[in-house]
């Protein structure tokens, strides 16, 4: 049974990572025009950094057929500079009349959101396939 649980864990890690990504993308989209963030200045676009690591403990790792979990390594701020838009009447405009808006392109965020959704769905399919296989195996000897 341990094998099934590990496999389920791999798919669950994939679901968690993609959902985290979707949350961060939603936050970016919601704050696309935010000029006053918690740490002052315009909102900074956030990026999710994914990494993989072996799914099994050291003992099992010797078996080599362990698979790899995906983990959110970091949610890092983007290094892109803010967009400067000429809006002299805006309360946050600088001396030249420009307002620093977040470095967010909604189109990019939407494309990323689509990719995250597809990856999430792929993991859901993997879970469903595992459930079908396990149920089928339980029929042995019935």
């Amino acid at each position: 049974m341990d094998g099934e649980l590990t496999t389920l864990g791999i798919s669950a890690a994939g679901l968690t990572a993609q959902r985290t990504r979707m949350n961060v993308l939603a936050e970016n989209l919601a704050n696309a025009e935010t000029t006053r963030s918690e740490d002052g200045g315009p909102y900074q676009r956030k990026l999710v950094v994914l990494g993989s690591e072996p799914a099994a403990s050291f003992g099992q790792a010797l078996e080599a057929a362990q698979g790899n979990l995906v983990k959110v390594q970091e949610i890092a701020p983007s290094t892109e500079p803010p967009r400067l838009v000429y809006m002299p009447a805006h309360p946050d405009a600088n001396a030249e009349g420009y307002v620093a808006l977040p470095n967010i392109n909604p189109v990019l965020e939407m494309v990323d959101l689509l990719a995250a959704t597809r990856a999430y769905e792929a993991n859901v399919t993997a879970v469903q396939a595992l459930k079908a296989m396990t149920n089928k195996a339980l029929e042995i000897g019935r």
Binding site: S11, G67, A119, A122, M133
Partner: protein, 122 residues
């Protein structure tokens, strides 16, 4: 190992185990479909089957042990972020693997039912 189970049943259960390992590796590839630098893996399954079939005809003395071999996916195409997982190909492989698994389970269950009938003297 002397059991009431014939070598074929042993081979079947080993192959079912191999499909489970293969599913895990496919799930791992799918989980890492957006991980930069991740290299897609595959379980050498068809090769295992061919090797098992290459056993001498008739009844082998012991079921040939199948050890699933995990290797880098030779069909993987590297994207710009170094990831080599092809989502569509992985989904097809997973569907194929599930069919394999269910088919093998069905055959094994059938064999056990035959044995059950023999034991009961039906």
């Amino acid at each position: 190992m002397a059991t009431i189970f014939d070598p074929t049943s042993g081979l079947l259960s080993e192959m079912i185990r191999a499909t489970a390992v293969r599913h895990r590796i496919l799930a791992s590839n799918l989980a890492n479909v957006e991980t930069p630098g991740y290299e897609a893996q595959e379980v050498a399954f068809d090769k295992l089957l061919a090797e098992a079939q290459g056993q001498p005809a008739g009844r082998p003395a012991a079921p040939p042990g199948i050890r699933p071999v995990v290797r880098a996916d030779p069909d993987g195409v590297s994207r710009r972020d170094g990831n080599t997982v092809d989502l569509d190909r992985q989904m097809v492989k997973m569907a194929e693997n599930t069919l394999w698994h269910n088919g093998l389970v069905q055959i094994l269950a059938q064999r056990l039912n035959v044995m059950k009938a023999a034991i009961k003297g039906q």
